[in-house]
């Protein structure tokens, strides 16, 4: 216990990095995923294919592989960035595929009458998507989106294997230095992960219940 308290600043530093990774990657994945989701329902075939191909490939690739590509393979073609930047890119690219699917199934959940009404008053595809469909789709997109961001929070731990000292890595390094107190460190690390994941999970299921009743 004392060892954990003495080294709390290191754990907190790691926790801060985890929060940075989560927030930046969430925003980037949200933007990229929404664009991809819209592409997947657009009237232009090549855009639909591009969106579909992206989702199919990325969803079936392990996140560790995306990290490995950014850190070890990309330098072979002269793309060299900081380890933390690699982590941002890998997490965003990976998470965007799941955001895309959430957006697409959200769009599909809006009743067809809404899209027909938008069309009937002469709206174009982009008008009906941005002013009629997406605002309503948000209701059913938000709960799965929160779950995706919870998964992202947990996924930031993969960065520990690729030279970023985030929450898990700080616990692992402390364990290597003071092996006898290892369980305390990992327990502390687990506590901080749960501090994010459990409240967010509860929020998601409550929001979902709210949306379900309103429909």
């Amino acid at each position: 216990m004392d060892a954990l308290v003495d080294n709390l600043d290191l754990i907190l530093k790691g926790f801060w990095t985890t929060i940075q990774l989560t927030v930046v990657a969430s925003i980037a994945a949200l933007l990229l995923g929404t664009v991809l989701g819209t592409m997947r329902v657009s009237p232009i075939p090549p855009l639909r294919w591009l969106g579909a191909a992206y989702v199919e490939i990325v969803r079936n690739t392990p996140l560790t592989l995306v990290f490995f590509f950014m850190v070890f393979v990309a330098p072979q073609v002269d793309i060299v960035v900081e380890f933390k930047t690699s982590a941002y890119v890998a997490l965003s690219v990976y998470t965007a595929a799941f955001v895309c699917e959430a957006v697409r199934s959200g769009i599909n959940s809006v009743s067809t009458g809404q899209a027909e009404a938008a069309r009937a008053i002469g709206m174009t595809f982009s008008q009906s998507i941005s002013t009629v469909i997406l605002p309503q789709a948000m209701r059913s997109i938000i709960p799965p989106l929160i779950n995706i961001f919870v998964a992202l929070t947990k996924n930031t731990s993969v960065a520990a294997g690729f030279f970023v000292t985030e929450l898990f890595a700080s616990g692992r390094d402390l364990n290597l230095r003071h092996p006898s107190d290892g369980l305390w460190f990992l327990g502390g690390v687990a506590f901080f992960y749960l501090l994010i994941t459990i409240p967010a999970g509860i929020a998601a299921s409550q929001l979902e219940r709210k949306v379900a009743i309103a429909r």
Partner: protein
């Protein structure tokens, strides 16, 4: 459904769509060309490093790596389904002394990163093998997710199923095992199968905890071949990582896509059979975002 978002295109819209299609295709081609240029600039086009893909030993090593990946995934999948079933049974039990601990266990372990769960065994027992660490981590995490999937499957059943089981004198556990679980598994089969894809993808975390699976093999083969001198005394160099990585990624994607296809085929078949089965959304679907 998507076609409802836009009219059947008239002549003007068709022209616009055609222009859009051409522009879109040009953008895709442009991206591909940029990628090609990148490779060419770094001497990877037409380079002899690709010849490493014709070396049988490489494929044998990758095959061994894939086998190790599948071995961990298969064992963890079986154990996770068992753990999930036990947790669900405990959680649905009328006694709070059983359902509460099961609920707390599930909430905690599905809220933690798989990597952390893989690492715990190494700290508790110092002489544990990487394989055991990977399997324990995968089992704990996915067992909790599968418990949630099974629970929502059971919750989706009409209450008459359980009542009928109890009425003919089955015990609550026997009702669960013989009547509720088989139906819940059938309803949730597509979700369960896509969870297997998540599990399989997560075996690649074994790379970080030093389990010799497919991704570790890719790294080891790079180290091996970049130091190799071939028959005609050419050295592959560190760029040999590129073709080996492409081969490894292709194997991962091919295996996962096959399982994903099975999942969506099951889902389509299920939808055709029983449109009545309630759709469970966010709670379970987004779990497939793990990994």
């Amino acid at each position: 459904m998507t076609s409802v978002l836009y009219d059947v295109p008239g002549p003007r819209a068709r022209r616009r769509n055609l222009i859009g299609s051409i522009l879109g295709a040009l953008v895709i081609l442009g991206l591909l060309w940029l990628g090609y240029k990148r490779l060419d600039d770094n001497g990877l086009i037409g380079s002899h490093v690709w010849e490493v893909l014709t070396v049988p030993d490489l494929w044998e090593a990758l095959g061994r790596g894939l086998l190790a990946t599948l071995k961990a995934a298969a064992l963890a999948a079986v154990l996770a389904v068992l753990l999930g079933a036990v947790l669900t049974a405990l959680r649905l039990s009328p006694s709070r002394w059983l359902s509460w601990p099961a609920a707390v266990f599930t909430e905690i372990f599905r809220g933690l990163p798989v990597l952390l769960l893989m690492y715990f065994p190494f700290v508790i027992w110092t002489d544990v093998s990487p394989f055991t660490g990977v399997v324990i981590g995968l089992t704990l995490y996915n067992g909790c997710i599968i418990a949630e999937i099974l629970r929502s499957g059971v919750a989706a059943l009409p209450s008459g199923q359980r009542e009928a089981g109890l009425a003919v004198g089955l015990t609550p556990v026997a009702t669960l095992r013989a009547i509720e679980f088989p139906q819940a598994v059938r309803i949730m089969l597509p979700t369960l199968v896509s969870q297997i894809v998540v599990l399989l993808k997560d075996t690649s975390l074994g790379y970080i905890v030093t389990y010799e699976e497919l991704l570790s093999t890719v790294r080891n083969m790079r180290n091996y071949y970049s130091a190799q001198v071939t028959d005609n005394f050419e050295i592959y160099g560190s760029q040999v990582l590129f073709p080996i990585f492409i081969a490894g990624a292709a194997i991962y994607i091919a295996v996962n896509m096959t399982i994903s296809q099975v999942a969506s085929w099951l889902a389509r078949r299920g939808n055709k059979k029983a449109a009545a089965a309630p759709r469970r959304t966010a709670d379970v679907e987004a779990n497939t975002a793990g990994g």
